[in-house]
């Protein structure tokens, strides 16, 4: 199973992010990684939580528009060139990245890149062929 990502729609208004973090905190949900996409008019918060279903439920109860999507997580070496190695594979395979973000498990140990592709199946094949480590949902959610 791939990594489950929770996406939340945000209007540009002060305090909205804090409301999200607060309701996750109150429900004892841990955030593994997050990124915020912003446009002139709105934002989309994307996060990977330790408990996707609970995070979704809690946010919905607080009136947010929430969507759950799958993203692909791959392991990268946490040193110069670690990310480049992976993106070279993506580039050679001619894959279009919708968005990506990254986090490190423990500095110097291993980095994790989260990808959203137009064609995830092809991406998985390309990564496998290049010998890049694909992380399962269980691994990422329980880190």
């Amino acid at each position: 199973m791939n990594v489950q990502q929770v996406a939340v729609f945000l209007e540009h208004k002060p305090g909205r992010l804090a409301e999200i973090s607060h309701c996750l905190a109150e429900s004892n949900i841990n955030i593994r990684a997050l990124s915020l996409a912003d446009t002139t008019d709105f934002g989309i918060l994307r996060l990977v939580a330790d408990d996707t279903d609970k995070a979704r439920k809690v946010l919905k109860e607080h009136g947010f528009t929430v969507g759950v999507t799958e993203v692909i997580a791959v392991g990268a070496e946490d040193r110069p060139g670690g990310m480049d190695k992976i993106l070279q594979v993506v580039s050679k395979a001619g894959l279009n990245v919708e968005y990506m973000y990254a986090f490190t498990k423990k500095s110097g140990e291993s980095g994790i890149l989260l990808f959203k592709f137009d064609e995830p199946a092809q991406a998985l094949t390309a990564f496998k062929e290049a010998g890049i480590k694909i992380l399962s949902g269980e691994e990422v959610h329980s880190m």
Partner: protein, 433 residues
């Protein structure tokens, strides 16, 4: 100058005699020639012979825009098409547009109403008239044009748009009078500033502005920026087009209604009972002389009161103040009539869009803008920016196609649009008109 001194300064008692005779003739003709009116009058139990005084008009049924739509396109015409010389239609794009027709005599009467309006604004045949009202199905352009020709002015039928060229020609031709919507005029003023044209280089001395509501603040703005006098003109295609009422340049306070051709009433907005002239209510018009397309007690949706105080200009016609409110939600955006329900149709017709929306009308610089706030439902929410922006573009495109206006779409979080407890407040107008 008063164009038709005899009629425009007629003592009230004489005017009322003229009005009653014309009203009786009009009601009789409508009853005899338009089945729809006859059925409505029969249902209300009123016959043409019951109109014995001007006050008896209150027994006649009202006419609304719905009645006009129901009789699309020519159902309320009193004459066959071979006697019609002109047809205009409203911008109504969903549902039925309202269609109005004119006989040769109607066009002549209209030209006189416009000539009277120009004269009231101080225009004479020596003037060069720059007519920037839109020419076409909209009554503004041609209506004003015929009046200015009737007066003998040199008319420049420039219509709307292409502001830089408008200003160049205004300067080169020595235009002295500008006819336009107030918001377009502000746009022209902005363009002049961009072009480095000083309004004092121009010969403009008066502007006659209408087709959308505008405020006293706007008058001050237009007058000081363009170094002109700004005069308000009122009209609606269902009744005539421009020239139903106009301010006199002497007072610039209240618009004289051409009462020898249009009989105004003010009725209560809820009970529709007639109100005294000084009381505020919905403005209702009955045409007294129109041939092709008369209307009986047409509800304009404009809210105002009548000013009966005698005016210093010498006209005896009652005045109406500048129109500031409408009884329903019709919006006029840059001269285009827009009903919130039309935007609603586009929004709701698009998959995944919540039926909760709100329209915010404001003015940016000199132009009216409209923004539709739409709640993001789970159905159309996406984690990809591209998808959401694609959706807003699609909505914008659909609205533009259908209504011809640019409407900004703002996505908002669920439940952020205030839910109504009765009638929804769909429109927030920030224009401060």
């Amino acid at each position: 100058m008063i164009w038709n001194e005899k009629n425009e300064t007629m003592p009230r008692e004489e005017l009322e005699v003229v009005q009653l005779a014309r009203l009786q003739a009009q009601v009789e003709r409508v009853y005899a020639t338009v089945p729809y009116y006859r059925e409505k009058m029969d249902a209300a139990g009123v016959a043409p012979g019951d109109i014995k005084t001007l006050q008896d008009i209150k027994h006649l049924p009202f006419t609304t825009k719905d009645d006009l739509r129901r009789n699309y396109p020519f159902g309320l015409f009193t004459v066959p098409l071979d006697r019609i010389v002109r047809i205009h239609a409203s911008s109504g794009t969903t549902g039925q547009p309202t269609v109005v027709g004119y006989t040769r005599r109607d066009i002549k009467m209209w030209a006189e109403m416009m000539a009277r309006s120009l004269a009231a604004a101080g225009v004479t045949q020596k003037d060069v008239v720059h007519n920037a009202y839109g020419y076409g199905l909209f009554t503004g352009g041609l209506g004003a044009h015929y009046g200015a020709e009737e007066m003998g002015c040199a008319v420049i039928p420039i219509s709307g748009g292409n502001s830089k060229r408008q200003i160049t020609l205004m300067r080169d031709f020595g235009s002295t009078v500008l006819l336009a919507t107030p918001s377009y005029t502000l746009n022209l003023a902005d363009t002049m500033a961009e072009m480095g044209v000083d309004p004092s280089e121009l010969k403009l001395r008066v502007g006659i502005f209408g087709a959308e509501p505008w405020s006293e603040q706007m008058r001050t703005e237009l007058e000081s920026r363009l170094k002109i006098k700004a005069v308000d003109i009122y009209g609606l295609s269902e009744v005539l087009g421009p020239g139903v009422a106009v301010e006199c340049i002497e007072e610039q306070r209240g618009l004289h209604i051409m009462e020898d051709h249009f009989l105004p009433e003010i009725v209560d907005r809820d009970t529709f009972e007639p109100l005294a002239p000084g009381e505020k209510g919905e403005l209702v018009f009955t045409t007294l002389t129109k041939e092709a397309f008369p209307v009986i007690r047409y509800r304009t949706k404009d809210v105002c009161q009548l000013i009966t105080k005698v005016c210093t200009c010498g006209r005896t016609f009652h005045r109406m103040p500048k129109v500031t409110g409408r009884t329903d939600d019709m919006l006029i955006i840059r001269g285009v009539n827009v009903f919130p329900s039309q935007i609603e149709e586009v929004l709701i017709g698009t998959e995944g869009v919540e039926p909760h929306y709100q329209l915010v009308v404001s003015r940016e610089g000199s132009l009216d803008t409209i923004e539709a706030q739409v709640e993001v439902s789970e159905e159309f929410f996406s984690d990809e920016v591209r998808v959401l922006e694609g959706l807003t573009r699609k909505l914008q495109g659909n609205i533009k196609d259908l209504l011809g206006i640019s409407c900004k779409i703002k996505l908002v979080e669920p439940k952020t649009i205030q839910r109504s407890e009765g009638k929804a407040q769909r429109v927030i107008d920030k224009r401060n008109i």
